[in-house]
């Protein structure tokens, strides 16, 4: 069992290392270098020399990669070209904002989605299921920027309950940030809930038809206890991976939603950095996103180990 967990951690670390290598190599493969692509037509003379010196581009690529990885491991992502500041100074408050947005959306959406999925699966084809499944279908088909615009129109313009776009600075306190979060969280959770709910529902329906649930019924186990002890743990096992994948979607969704609401998070930062050709910044944000992605999948794997005794066998 401990070796099993260690192994999963090992795989996760390996994945991150590989992703960092690919990202670094991709930037290297671009024509020119970080400085020429940033400075464009001004890439000449002392300006270019200063930039090259500051970014340490005169050293061999392997050494630079080593430095970048070692720095990133300590939270140092190098020097932003556009903002002329260390990347980490710019990134952490943005990270906090995005974590606040994504975290609240995930914490709200996942338990609710699981609950609704079980409710719909147990009452398959009855009114509860039909209305929940219908709503989920709708939530999945409407793109998030459309939902966002609709919500802004109703709650920010007509009712004026929440601000339409964020106008506080990225470093504002959590309390100041909260009113700005409500609408983006709703937009993000709607899609999360829809996806996870449908998966949990399908999984519950599968398990309800299994031999062991029939056996539990014939053992005289009351329906509620059947759902709690026999159905839910087994239905969650296949659903876990989908939840992890949905959270990966959340990372992409966050970029769109932040842009729509002008929310000062990592997403807006990354889009801006791409516009500015600020490659050190782009690399840093991309690396953070991939670490979150791997961490979420690792978490799902570990949760599956807890739920499913068959996975705990030696040799897996």
């Amino acid at each position: 069992m401990p070796t099993l967990i260690l192994r999963r951690f090992g795989f996760a670390a390996f994945t991150i290392a590989f992703v960092s290598l690919v990202m670094f190599a991709a930037v290297e493969a671009l024509p020119g270098n970080v400085c020429t692509s940033f400075l464009q037509r001004f890439a000449q003379g002392p300006r270019l020399e200063r930039c090259i010196e500051q970014q340490g581009l005169d050293r061999p690529a392997l050494v630079r990669y080593g430095d970048w990885v070692a720095g990133a491991a300590q939270g140092d992502f190098g020097y932003s070209l556009k903002k002329r500041k260390p990347v980490n100074e710019l990134i952490w408050e943005r990270f906090r904002n995005t974590a606040l947005l994504g975290g609240i959306a995930a914490l709200l959406a996942i338990p609710l989605a699981i609950f609704l999925g079980i409710a719909a699966g147990v009452r398959r084809d009855r009114p509860v299921d039909l209305s929940l499944s219908g709503a989920a279908m709708l939530a999945m088909t409407i793109p998030e920027f459309v939902t966002a615009t609709a919500l802004i129109y109703v709650f920010a313009i007509l009712l004026q309950w929440f601000p339409a776009v964020t106008i506080v600075s990225p470093g504002a306190s959590v309390l100041q940030m909260l009113p700005n979060i409500v609408l983006p969280v709703i937009v993000l959770s709607a899609v999360l809930i829809a996806h996870i709910m449908r998966m949990v529902r399908a999984s519950v329906i599968d398990v309800m038809a299994s031999d062991y649930v029939q056996m539990a019924r014939l053992k005289g186990v009351p329906e509620r206890q059947i759902i709690r002890k026999h159905v839910v743990p087994n239905a969650m096992i296949p659903a876990l991976n989908v939840i992890a994948l949905t959270i990966a979607w959340l990372l992409a969704g966050v970029v769109v939603v932040e842009k729509v609401f002008n929310y000062p998070g990592l997403g807006t930062l990354m889009i801006q950095a791409i516009y500015d050709r600020d490659l050190p910044m782009v690399q840093a944000v991309a690396l953070i996103f991939s670490v979150i992605y791997v961490a979420v999948n690792l978490l799902a794997d570990l949760a599956a180990l807890v739920l499913d005794p068959r996975l705990r066998r030696k040799g897996h």
Binding site: Y212, A216, V221
Partner: protein
């Protein structure tokens, strides 16, 4: 007159088909069972036998509804009872032992938790008392180290152990009646024999009534006092087991009994022709599913023992060799290697004319492919559901003979005729055919290539007995007509005897015994062969399985003979056991000195005189048998 415990009166159950047409599954079934009695319900698939048994608990599978009649258990009308009262009876007074315990136990709960759940529902015991009772129950079903087993999850138990755990769970509430729904179907013959003996013992010990649902007349003959024969939702015959088996009155029962292949029936195959040409040869074949991973190679871990090794067999034109053994014996693996679906790691597989078959199926040339054809266990899954039967049969004709259009269609119709299906079937889809018909299409498809070697992988195990009989007959007839050789894999020893000229007994990937069917069945020499034959149940109320008694059960689940074979295998590790030739091609692989083999034969086990056993290698250590 004893009061009846279970009383089923005029029970009709069914579903509402599309268009609101009521379609019955059970038609006015009436049955009665007194306390302590064992009733067998026997029938083929779709006869409604499981539905009757579950109705005794007031349970209908989803989609079914009650059309009429009553199911009374212990004075309670099970269908009229409130949900709460019914739940109270289920699992306590009347308990189910399911068909497939591996699937009927919840995978995320330990065995102990699941038994505890039943105790919690049906007794007033405290937590500590329940824990003690769980161990007591597991002990009662004779599971070794019950306290340890209670902490395990279902997947950590073997099939036989899972079945025993399910029995322990059924006993949690002091049941008056146990319903057993095909409790040994899917288990190996030896495990089945042990579980059945154990259940018989239990019924006697506790005086519970049992309802035993099975498709297997051998099982029913062994356990039931009375038997009800079901056909298409009706009971066609009911009576004491001995009477029904010995003097069946209903036409259906007579046909059913006649269709069962018997282990002791000598086979009626034409005499072996020693001058026939060799069509297939396996020489010291080794097959492994385990491919060493990158990590294994880096750490230089030793390769695992192959799944199959040291297999040498020969097959002549127009003859059949049967491969028998329990699950994990490697019989299907050998078949897959001949077909090229897995690669043999070592040794040689060759067709007539020394055409090597070592290449996987993707790298074989068309002519080699044509010469070896396979018929699959599950006809349903091996026929493309979106192609018509005609398209399915024309594909090999086009591929191997370049036949197209009218010519191909004519040949396809001819093939269908050979498997006794009308030509109209060419335009049907597989889903419009019955199980037996689909398997006949599978046979026709194999014969479209006019193969030299036909591989049959458990081709009748999914079929009902009556359908099986016609399929086997068909195979024999086709063999006589075109002289193809068969490799016939089956777990059913009686079927193998009926269709084969040669038989090879496998155990954990090694040969135990190879020989002409009549010799091996008459005088099994290897202890494992004897164990397998001894465990076969016959549809005869007076037949007692040979090697089974309580002492064996206590030694180990699998009994002493299997244990013996295991020790024999273990001692030799990767080395091949000694090979003894008993004459006429009857070869035994067993670690015993040639002198002991001779001695055993003199003792009357094998009346054939003369022993010319040859030790494979003088370096092999000779192990004296523990007998």
């Amino acid at each position: 007159m004893t009061k009846s415990l279970i009383n089923i009166e005029d029970l009709s159950v069914g579903f509402i088909a599309k268009g609101g047409l009521p379609t019955p599954v059970l038609r006015q079934v009436s049955l009665e069972l007194v306390a302590g009695e064992t009733l067998g319900i026997v029938g083929e698939s779709g006869s409604g036998k499981s539905t009757v048994a579950l109705a005794m608990m007031g349970y209908l599978k989803p989609g079914l509804s009650l059309f009429g009649g009553r199911a009374v258990f212990d004075g309670n009308d099970m269908f009229a009872l409130s949900e709460k009262k019914r739940a109270k009876l289920r699992g306590s007074s009347i308990a189910l032992i399911p068909q497939n315990a591996g699937q009927a136990l919840t995978p995320t709960l330990t065995i102990g938790d699941q038994i505890d759940e039943a105790l919690q529902l049906h007794t007033d015991l405290s937590g500590a008392e329940r824990a003690a009772k769980v161990v007591e129950l597991l002990n009662r079903v004779r599971l070794p180290e019950p306290a340890e087993i209670a902490k395990r999850y279902p997947h950590e138990l073997s099939g036989g152990q899972q079945q025993r755990a399910a029995v322990a769970m059924a006993l949690a509430g002091n049941a008056k009646a146990l319903l057993l729904d095909e409790p040994t179907t899917g288990l190996d013959v030896t495990t089945q024999a042990h579980i059945l003996e154990f259940l018989r013992e239990l019924a006697r010990e506790m005086g519970v009534a049992m309802v035993y649902v099975s498709h297997d007349m051998g099982v029913i003959a062994r356990v039931a006092d009375r038997v009800a024969v079901m056909y298409s939702g009706e009971i066609v015959e009911e009576g004491p087991t001995r009477r029904v088996l010995r003097e069946p009155r209903h036409e259906y029962t007579k046909n059913l009994l006649a269709a069962i292949p018997r282990l002791d029936a000598p086979n009626k195959r034409p005499n072996l022709r020693p001058d026939a040409q060799q069509t297939l040869k396996l020489d010291d074949v080794a097959i492994s599913y385990h491919k060493p991973g990158l990590l294994d190679r880096l750490l230089r871990r030793p390769a695992k023992r192959p799944n199959v090794e040291h297999v040498s067999l020969g097959l002549k034109r127009g003859q059949t060799i049967g491969l028998v053994g329990e699950s994990g014996s490697g019989k299907s693996t050998i078949l897959r290697a001949i077909a090229g679906l897995v690669e043999a790691q070592g040794g040689e597989i060759a067709l007539a004319g020394d055409q090597a078959l070592t290449a996987p199926v993707g790298r074989r040339d068309r002519e080699t492919l044509r010469r070896v054809q396979m018929i699959f266990q599950n006809a349903d899954a091996s026929l493309n559901p979106r192609q018509t039967i005609g398209e399915i049969l024309e594909a090999p004709l086009r591929l191997y003979y370049g036949k197209k259009g009218k010519q191909a269609e004519g040949k396809a119709a001819e093939l269908l005729g050979a498997v006794r299906l009308p030509a109209e079937y060419l335009r049907r889809f597989p889903s419009q055919l019955s199980g037996g018909e689909k398997q006949r299409v599978g046979i026709a498809r194999a014969f479209a290539a006019n193969p030299e070697v036909t591989l049959c992988d458990e081709i009748t195990s999914a079929l009902d007995v009556s359908v099986q009989a016609t399929a086997l007959e068909l195979l024999s007839r086709l063999q006589q007509e075109n002289g193809s050789s068969y490799v016939f894999v089956s777990h059913d020893l009686a079927v193998v005897r009926a269709v084969s000229d040669w038989v090879a007994v496998l155990y954990q990937g090694r040969l135990c015994e190879v020989g002409p069917v009549e010799k091996v069945y008459a005088n099994p020499f290897h202890p494992y062969t004897r164990l397998l034959m001894g465990a076969v149940l016959r549809p005869d109320p007076d037949a007692v399985p040979e090697i089974l008694n309580e002492v064996d059960l206590k030694v180990q689940e699998c009994g002493y003979s299997k244990l013996w074979a295991e020790i024999d295998m273990e001692r030799t590790k990767s080395k091949q056991p000694l090979q003894h030739d008993l004459g006429d091609g009857h070869v035994v692989y067993f670690n015993m000195s040639p002198e002991s083999v001779a001695q055993m034969r003199v003792k009357g086990r094998d009346p054939a005189a003369g022993s010319n056993s040859v030790p494979r290698s003088s370096a092999d250590r000779v192990l004296e048998p523990a007998e």
